[in-house]
C-alpha cells in the first residue's frame, strides 16, 4: 500500500485529467456527436423505409381486395341484370299471350254477335217472305174459292202442305 501510494504521481494525475478532459471534449464535438447523429438518422431512415414498404404492401393488399370486391359486385350485378331481363322477357311474352287471347276472344264474340244478328235478320226476312207468300196463297185460294169450291179446298190443302215443308 505504501509502495502503491509512493508510485502514485500527482503530476501525472493532473496531466492526465487535463488531457482526458480535452480528449472527451474533442471526441464528443468532432467525432461522437456527428457519428451518433448520423447513425440515428440512418436507423430512423431504415425504420421509415421499412414502415413505408409495409404501408405500401398493405395499400396494395387493400387495393387488390377492393378490385376483387368490385369484380365480385360487377359479376353479381350482371347476374341480376340477366335474371331481370329473363324475367321481363317471360312476363312480356305472357302479357302478349293474354292480350292476344283476350283480343281473339273479343273478335270471336263480335263475330258470333254478327252471325246472330245476321241470322235474326235472315229469319225476320224469311218470316216476312213467308207472310207475303201466305198472303199470295191466300189471295190465290180466295180467288179459286170464288170459282170452284172443291178445287179451292184442294189447293188450300196442297199449299198448306208445301208450307209446312218449308
Amino acid at each position: 500500500m505504501d509502495k502503491l501510494l509512493n508510485d502514485f504521481s500527482p503530476g501525472l494525475f493532473v496531466v492526465q485529467t487535463i488531457l482526458l478532459l480535452l480528449l472527451i471534449f474533442l471526441m464528443v464535438k468532432f467525432a461522437w456527436k456527428p457519428i451518433l447523429n448520423s447513425l440515428n438518422e440512418r436507423e430512423e431512415g431504415i425504420q421509415d423505409a421499412l414502415k413505408a414498404a409495409e404501408n405500401a404492401k398493405r395499400d396494395m393488399q387493400n387495393l387488390q381486395a377492393n378490385n376483387e370486391k368490385l369484380l365480385q359486385d360487377a359479376r353479381l350485378e350482371r347476374e341480376t341484370m340477366l335474371k331481370e331481363a329473363r324475367e321481363m322477357k317471360l312476363k312480356m311474352i305472357d302479357e302478349a299471350k293474354t292480350e292476344a287471347q283476350a283480343e281473339a276472344g273479343k273478335l270471336v264474340a263480335n263475330a258470333q254477335l254478327a252471325i246472330e244478328n245476321e241470322k235474326k235478320a235472315a229469319i225476320a226476312e224469311l218470316k216476312t217472305q213467308v207472310a207475303s207468300l201466305s198472303i199470295e196463297i191466300a189471295e190465290k185460294v180466295v180467288r179459286e174459292e170464288l170459282s170452284n169450291k172443291d178445287k179451292q179446298m184442294k189447293l188450300v190443302e196442297s199449299m198448306l202442305g208445301e208450307a209446312t215443308l218449308n
Binding site: 502503491l4 492526465q16 488531457l19 467525432a31 451518433l36
Partner: protein, 396 residues
Amino acid sequence: MKVAKQTFKFYTLVVLLFASAFAVAENTTKTGEGKEGQIDTKEKVEAYILHHIQDSHDFSLFSYTSDSGERKHVGFPLPVIIWTSNGLVTFMSSEFHHNDDGHVIVEKDGLRFAKIHSKIFELEAGADVVAFDEEHHATNAHKVLDFSITKSVVGVLLIGLLMFFWFAGLAKQYKTKQVPTGFGRVLEPLVLYVRDEIARPNIGEKHYRKFTGYLLTVFFFIWILNLLGLTPFGFNVTGQLAVTACLAIFTLVIYTASGNKDYWMHMLWMPDAPWWIRPVLAIIELAGAFIIKPFSLLVRLFANISAGHIVVMSLIAIMFTLKDTLGVAGATGLSLILSFFITLIEVLVAFLQAYIFTMLSALFIGMAVAEHDHDHAHDEHGHEIPDAEDVRGDFI
C-alpha cells in the same frame, strides 16, 4: 479519398517523429565495467520489471552493451516539467543519463535534482549528493510536483491523436455516404457495440444519449492503451494508478453530478427502511458511492494491467532464470510458448478491462439517473407490474 489522404499524412508524421527521435537518441552511460547493464539474474529481473511498470521520463526502446563495455540506450529523451520551490523548471530527461538511483545530479536554475525510481527529487539547499537512510529513503531531498511529458503522457497523446483522427474521419464519412468504407467499416460496429450493449441497456433508453460520448471515449481510450501496453514499446499507461484514478474520478464526478432526486433520496434516507436503520444505510451508501465504486474501478483496471505486464515479463525472463536448469534451448522454448499464450490472454484482457470499466461506469450512471417512477402499470389486483427498468434498479 480526403480522409485516406489525411490518415496517410498522419501516419507519415508519426513515422517521421520516431525516425528523427532515433537519430538523436543513441545515448551512452558509463555505469560500470563489464556487463553490468544486462538483465540476467533474478534480482535484476525483478528490479527491471518493477521499473518497467512504473512511468518513465524517457522513451527507451532497448539498450545494449557495446564491445568497449559501454552501455548504449536507444530511445529518445522526453521533456521534464516540474514545479519546484523556485517555480516551474524544465529540462530534457537526457540530462539524467538514464540514471535512476539518484547518483546523477542535474543543476538547473540554482536547484539540484536527482531521479530516484522514476521520481524526481529536489535536493535541499547546500546538498551535493542524495543521502539515504537504511530503508533507502532520501533524507535530504523531497519529491516535486512532476508535470513531465513522461512515457505515459506520450502514450496518452499518441492514442488521443489516433482516436481523434480515426473517429473524426469516420464522422466525416457520414457526410457523404450512409455506410462507411475502409477502416470506418471496422470502427462503426465498435461504436454501435458500445452504444447498444453498454450505454443503452445500462443507462436506459431515456438518458443514454447524453453519456454515450463519455463512455465511447473511455472505452476506446482504455482499450487502445491496453493494447499499446502489449507492444514492445513498453507503454504501461493503464497500469498507472494516476491514470486509472483519473478515469475513475471522471466516472464518479459524472454519476454524482447527474444523480436525480431519487438517487440522493435512496442514498441519504432510504424510503422503505425502518427509520432507525436509515442513518446506517446512508453511511454505507455514501461510502459505496464515493469510495467503494471509484476504488473498485481504479484498482481493477490498474491491477489487471499491471499484473498482466508482470506476468508476461516474468515469463520472458524464464529465458534467463531457468537457463541453468533447462539449458538455453529449453528455457527459451518454454519462455516463448508460455509468453505467447499469456500474451493471447492479455489481448483478451485488454478488451475485457476496457469493457468492464465502461460497463460499470454505465451501470453507475444508470443507477444515478434511474427513475423510480410511481405511476407504474397496475394489474387488476392493484399490484405493480415491474418493468425492465425496475428490475434493473432493484438488481443494482
